[in-house]
Subunit: 399 residues, 2 copies
């Protein structure tokens, strides 16, 4: 039978990352593809303890339906977290608990985007944000970036030309490039958005994972006009296996997001929310995050060394101050996507760059994750990748 | 600031039920409003035990990101459950785990509905399905029902007139009426849908909660053409606090639903899925469901007795063979919505009927939940409701 799908399904593609994740299970495979946290950092015993406490103390409540906005004490904690990030005056009224921050993107698309609406993004940008907004038939307008992030002059040109509905930006250790948006640019970008009446969707899953340099307040901390919707998550700081994130912003927008969430999943797992709440109450999450930071900093440094030692000189990569990813530029004429089958053959995985560009450009790039694999595997994996790179280089020179 | 929301948000309304849920917290309030399971039936100790086992045996895997389709062993179990319900040949390939069956409705809307597409529904129908499909700007076409459910002749008329994309139907102990679609009608409806090339979305959250009469196989059991998408959930049989449901259907549709789910929340809580899987492996869920059935059967009988004893003779109600709801018809001239403030005053809650009609008609009806409150509260609550009813009757006669 031929199914008559919705028009938007014609635009939606399966995520390359999630397709590649299926290959990671092969024996001997070393994966730099997924955005997976280091499993040895998961607080397994603490989560088990929290689950026991929640079920012993409020079992029937934890297993019942719950309000859409989220578990009250957890909303309070996330609001306090926002104030700690410089968003003065943030309260539970500014906050919706979501089923991971991916759901925040979906709900934002639902309440804001009509077919054909322009969305400005960094170029490249997070591929699952492209997916989420594609579901509402957004038109993507990539804005030029450099090593300090989005370029305000390029942004203004795009705003004037495209009359966009919103700007989507990942200011800290961007996915996929690892680049951080400079403080002065945050202000410039906020001022432009405010002047031209567009919303900013600030996606900040990695902000807490800074292992070098100085923390920069989020764009949301500059927001006096209520034009910033800020997303974050516990996926990178506690665990992604419990799907718990949040959106913070103006109560009017939050009300619409809440209505959209009712229709999307009624509420986020009640027990997962209460487990996270107990964890934040009963355990030292700051110390835990510090441990993650040190581990990821060491893994980045190690991968950087391995790349320097092994990769042909024609390949370059970014040097992020935090997060989970670095971004490799291959020389002209090398197609990273074409390298993937050979890489799979040699048991190493990466994500080709083109999926991070809404227009499918970016063949020359690849994203490498440095948080998931331990040092010994990073060394072997980069050696394998370097062989693939050398071979691709020979092919490109022949062509 | 004035926000420029998407066009679809103009159609979306907050759920009346979820608004009313906020009042249920008041002291002394007796609620027949929510669709809440009896909390004394939640297997709290068993869930705690399962959480411990999952985290002890596979903690790091349970706390990591997971595949979108759902936890493999759980998909297998839900597929086996489908075969047990008469859907021969159902396998994991026919199945997507969702974050409650509400998410199934949202994803179905996303992959199938373009603005203006007609959706046929029972009249009245589940209000959160209206919400989910409204988000995709569906046009609702209510089809006449009687005490045996949807009327096939009325359905055919609507199909010919409206050229709908799909039929949405809740065949067992329908929400809100409690009515069950007769077996012969299931066949007739399936044949009509197949002949006219429309899809059937069969929503079956309550099917396992039959306390009287004989089980009727789902429409999905008749499906040779791959035109039925069947939704169910563990919310009513284990717990709604873990958000775990499923959609079963043709692999082609399931593939599209999976792509839509990637964009919506990446995957359902990994730990929640594994807890449900352990529960189904390690505990006797059939015996547990039998306990729920007996309890709900007794509560329905008790509420029915109380209504008979207390309510004015002009009020009538349905006598469901399972599920969680009955449906009260008020006499002409009585507006159930107008009774609600007085009911809140007297500390009893119900859901006015009009929210279950996409066109906002149905002022004469109210939905009562009989699963949540224990007998003593049912008796007091119905006595209060009867006072409100008598008062409304006096007002109506004066008018």
């Amino acid at each position: 039978m031929e199914y008559n799908l919705s028009r938007r399904m014609g635009q939606m593609r399966p995520s390359a990352v999630r397709q590649i994740l299926k290959v990671t299970e092969q024996p001997e495979m070393i994966s730099f593809a997924g955005g997976l946290p280091a499993p040895e950092c998961f607080p397994v015993a603490e989560i088990a303890e929290c689950a026991q406490r929640v079920l012993a103390e409020a079992g029937a409540q934890a297993l019942q339906y719950a309000v859409t906005e989220g578990f009250g004490p957890l909303r309070e904690k996330f609001a306090a977290e926002m104030r700690g990030r410089g968003v003065v005056g943030c309260t539970a009224e500014n906050l919706l608990v979501t089923s991971g921050s991916q759901q925040g993107l979906d709900l934002i698309g639902k309440i804001l985007i009509d077919p054909g609406d322009a969305i400005l993004t960094e170029s490249p940008t997070y591929l699952a944000a492209i997916q989420a907004f594609q579901a509402y038939e957004a038109r993507f307008v990539p804005v030029r970036t450099d090593e300090l992030g989005l370029i305000p002059e390029a942004l203004e040109e795009s705003i004037l030309r495209e009359r966009p509905k919103l700007l989507y930006v990942i200011p800290n250790f961007q996915n996929p490039t690892g680049i951080t948006l400079a403080a002065a640019r945050r202000q410039a970008i906020y001022d432009l958005a405010r002047r031209h009446g567009i919303l900013i969707v600030e996606d900040d899953p990695y902000g807490k994972l800074r292992y070098r340099g100085v923390e920069i307040p989020p764009i949301a901390s500059l927001d006096e006009a209520g034009i910033v919707l800020y997303l974050s998550t516990v996926s990178k700081t506690i665990t992604p296996g419990l799907r718990v994130g949040w959106v913070a912003g103006h109560p009017t927008l939050l009300r619409s997001l809440g209505i959209a969430k009712q229709a999307a999943d009624l509420h986020t797992s009640n027990i997962d929310q209460r487990i996270v709440d107990r964890y934040l109450t009963d355990f030292d999450s700051a110390a835990h995050i510090e441990r993650i930071r040190q581990l990821y900093g060491a893994r980045f440094a190690w991968m950087d060394n391995c790349l320097t030692a092994q990769m042909p000189g024609e390949f370059h990569w970014t040097h992020p101050e935090g997060g989970m990813f670095l971004w490799v530029s291959c020389p002209e004429g090398v197609d990273a996507g074409a390298m993937l089958p050979e890489a799979i053959e040699r048991k190493v995985l990466f994500v080709p760059g083109k999926d991070f560009f809404p227009d499918g450009s970016g063949q020359r790039f690849m994203r490498l994750n440095f948080s998931n694999a331990p040092e010994a595997k990073i060394e072997i994996g980069i050696a394998r990748l370097a062989e693939v790179a050398r071979q691709a280089l020979v092919m490109a020179e022949k062509a």
